[in-house]
């Protein structure tokens, strides 16, 4: 097995930099996920590692050897493509054995290897079928088998599950993880699906605009994103973002903007313009009653647009002032479309990002890390309960700037 190291890798197409100064180290036997939106350069990075694209500058090191000038076939890697790239005119047996056959392996050895791989992937009954006679999942397994049979040092996978239906995708996801764990082969897996990234990768490298934003374990990225982009990209539903300002008030330092008002610790940050992010999982909508005392951790008043029932939990898509916010809803509360609600909680897990750079300044995983991030001053929380609900109710002006809050979480 072998690790992969990218050192200062650039890829230019004409005058456009598709990958910029990429530095990434993938350990021997590690399952690394390259995650990012379309056009962020993740597939180009994978193709550069494969040798199907040439790096404009920088070094690509595979198993300790600089591979920039090494032909793809000599890099000892195998790739699984998004559309499987099976040879349609060949049977499953021929597809699986093709690389071995062409490398000069003996007929008997090829047949044995094909038999073993087919058995391990449940392809034995399908060996004499052509790809067109297979289902999506079966094709995917043939593509995997074709990669596995060569026992390469590195697996490269380019969104291999994106053409499968949701149920099959989950099955194949598990199958892939088991396979990688069993073989212990270094794997670099490209996806734009953060659920795949979170569930499959030992580590995840988030890319955006050709740059590497952050590398870390899935939980690290979820709890401690380095910037607003990573925070918004990781997690489903996406993080709620509120643009506003932090300033000292009579009751202490507070974030006000995007229709919410959140008390902060004095030491958390300086006064100024920020973006506050709170994941939907840490926010909840509770029923609003005219004249009733608002919950102590209420941060805004909102109206329910609709409720999404996901089975294990439900999320309400709410409007706070004129912005969309997503928060958990208890089915037992009987909250439905059009209901007025209090938006509560989330303060302990809220994260602040610099408005100008998007970099995280405080918060995120505070409880795990043992550091008080955007912990709400207890007194302020209770004392400001009514006040914190006030902005929306009283029509206090929202933070300046359009799109201060985004239910979609896109930065």
């Amino acid at each position: 097995m072998g690790g992969v190291v990218l050192q200062g890798v650039f890829k230019m197409f004409g005058g456009t930099a598709v990958v910029e100064d990429l530095n990434l180290e993938v350990g021997d036997g590690e399952f690394m996920v390259l995650l990012g939106p379309s056009g962020c350069g993740k597939t180009t990075t994978l193709r550069m590692i494969a040798g199907l694209e040439t790096a404009t500058s920088g070094q690509i090191i595979i198993d300790g050897r600089v591979a920039n000038d090494v032909h793809p076939s000599h890099r000892d890697i195998a790739m699984v493509f998004q559309n499987y790239a099976l040879y349609p005119h060949m049977t499953v047996r021929q597809n699986l054995g093709y690389a071995l056959r062409r490398s000069g392996a003996e007929k008997q050895a090829v047949a044995t290897a094909v038999g073993e791989v087919a058995a391990s992937l449940g392809l034995a009954p399908l060996l004499d079928r052509k790809p067109s006679q297979l289902s999506g999942g079966q094709r995917q397994r043939v593509a995997l088998g074709r990669a596995v049979i060569r026992r390469p040092k590195v697996f490269l996978m380019d969104e291999p599950l994106s053409n499968l239906d949701a149920k099959l995708r989950v099955e194949m996801r598990n199958e892939l993880v088991r396979l990688q764990s069993r073989l212990g082969t270094t794997t670099i897996y490209v996806t734009h699906d953060q659920v795949e990234a979170m569930t499959m990768g030992h580590r995840v490298a988030v890319m955006h605009g050709g740059r590497l934003e952050q590398v870390g374990s899935p939980l690290d990225l979820f709890e401690r994103p380095v910037n607003q982009f990573v925070a918004g990209f990781m997690g489903h539903p996406a993080m709620n973002m509120f643009q506003g300002s932090v300033a000292r008030h009579a009751s202490g330092r507070r974030f006000v903007g995007g229709g919410v008002e959140v008390p902060l610790l004095e030491s958390d940050c300086h006064d100024g313009e920020f973006v506050l992010g709170i994941r939907p999982q840490y926010l909840r909508a509770t029923r609003y009653s005219e004249g009733a005392v608002p919950p102590p951790d209420a941060i805004a008043r909102a109206r329910v647009d609709f409720v999404e029932h996901l089975g294990t939990e439900s999320f309400g898509v709410l409007t706070v002032e004129d912005r969309t916010v997503v928060a958990k809803v208890e089915v037992a509360d009987g909250i439905g479309s059009g209901d007025p609600v209090w938006l509560c909680g989330g303060r302990e897990r809220a994260q602040l990002f610099e408005l100008s750079t998007g970099a995280r300044v405080v918060g995120g995983g505070a409880s795990r890390a043992g550091a008080a991030a955007v912990a709400v001053a207890a007194g302020a929380a209770s004392g400001a309960g009514a006040a914190s609900g006030a902005p929306a109710a009283s029509g206090a002006p929202a933070a300046s700037g359009a799109g201060a809050a985004s239910g979609a979480g896109a930065p």
Partner: protein, 287 residues
């Protein structure tokens, strides 16, 4: 959907009744014009020697003279001409296949400087009428000692159709997913092997389409055959049946019978590969 809406939609989709009648008449007229030469050819081919000389000409013969088809074979060495045409058209098609398939693969899939310019140059050669090349080609054939040989026509017919075959195959190869080439590259296969193992099997519809064009162009070629071949034993059909055009008279019935027979192989080829031809011609139109 309401009745009124249905009627309205029907009107949009199918057009008004008078409009449909006019359209059908127009199409019918086009079909008549297209078929007329073949009908005249077929009727003339079965007109007897006496009837053909009658003036004013009768379009439909009183007696059908099937013997014209056998007489055409005895009047000139028609079987030999068929064989010659088959050798020449087949040879130029094979030559085309060997030259156009790798060229199309390179143009479709390999990145090299001047690729696009070369592709445009190839199609630009199609703009030149063969007659412009005739004298130069004749001199070349003399230098190469190819006058009165099959090779002269094989090479010239092959080179005339080469640009169009390259273009058809390039378009088809371009439609084969890049990932198949990438997968083969990662499997350790070189470009030649990728071509042989994958692009040729997957490109069969496009290749067949292109080669049919090549065959038909060579089968119907007249100018080079008339110029480069004077030896009757290697004459193709096109110039062979020209023998029915004498100085004193033209044996129209034999000429048409032979012409009709000369169409048969091409017609059979088209019928045989009709489905693949359609697939090849529309390749790349949609994903």
């Amino acid at each position: 959907m309401s009745r009124a809406a249905e009627v309205s939609l029907d009107h949009v989709v199918r057009g008004s009744k008078p409009g449909r009648v006019v359209t059908r008449l127009a199409f019918g007229w086009v079909v008549v014009i297209l078929l007329a030469p073949f009908v005249v050819m077929a009727l003339t081919a079965v007109t007897g020697n006496r009837a053909i000389a009658v003036l004013p000409a009768r379009w439909i013969p009183k007696q059908v003279a099937w013997s014209n088809f056998t007489s055409a074979f005895t009047a000139v060495p028609l079987a030999r001409y068929f064989l010659n045409s088959t050798i020449i058209a087949g040879g130029s098609t094979v030559l085309n296949a060997f030259a156009a398939v790798p060229a199309a693969f390179a143009l479709a899939r390999l990145r090299f400087r001047g690729r696009r310019a070369f592709l445009l140059f190839i199609i630009a050669t199609q703009m030149i009428s063969p007659i412009v090349l005739l004298i130069a080609a004749f001199k070349l054939m003399v230098v190469l000692h190819m006058i009165n040989t099959y090779w002269a026509l094989i090479f010239m017919d092959g080179s005339v159709s080469l640009p169009i075959t390259i273009w058809i195959m390039t378009a088809y190869f371009s439609g084969i997913p890049q990932e198949i080439q990438d997968a083969a590259t990662l499997d350790g296969i070189g470009n030649w092997r990728i071509l042989v193992d994958h692009f040729i099997p997957l490109g069969i519809p496009g290749i067949v389409t292109a080669l049919v064009f090549s065959f038909v162009i060579a089968w119907n070629e007249f100018l080079f055959a008339l110029t480069f071949v004077t030896n009757p034993t290697i004459r193709p059909l096109t110039t062979g049946i020209y023998a029915f055009v004498g100085e004193a008279e033209i044996q129209w019935n034999y000429l048409m019978a032979a012409s009709l027979l000369s169409i048969v192989p091409v017609l059979l080829i088209f019928l045989g590969i009709q489905k693949r031809l359609a697939a090849g011609l529309v390749a790349g139109a949609v994903k």
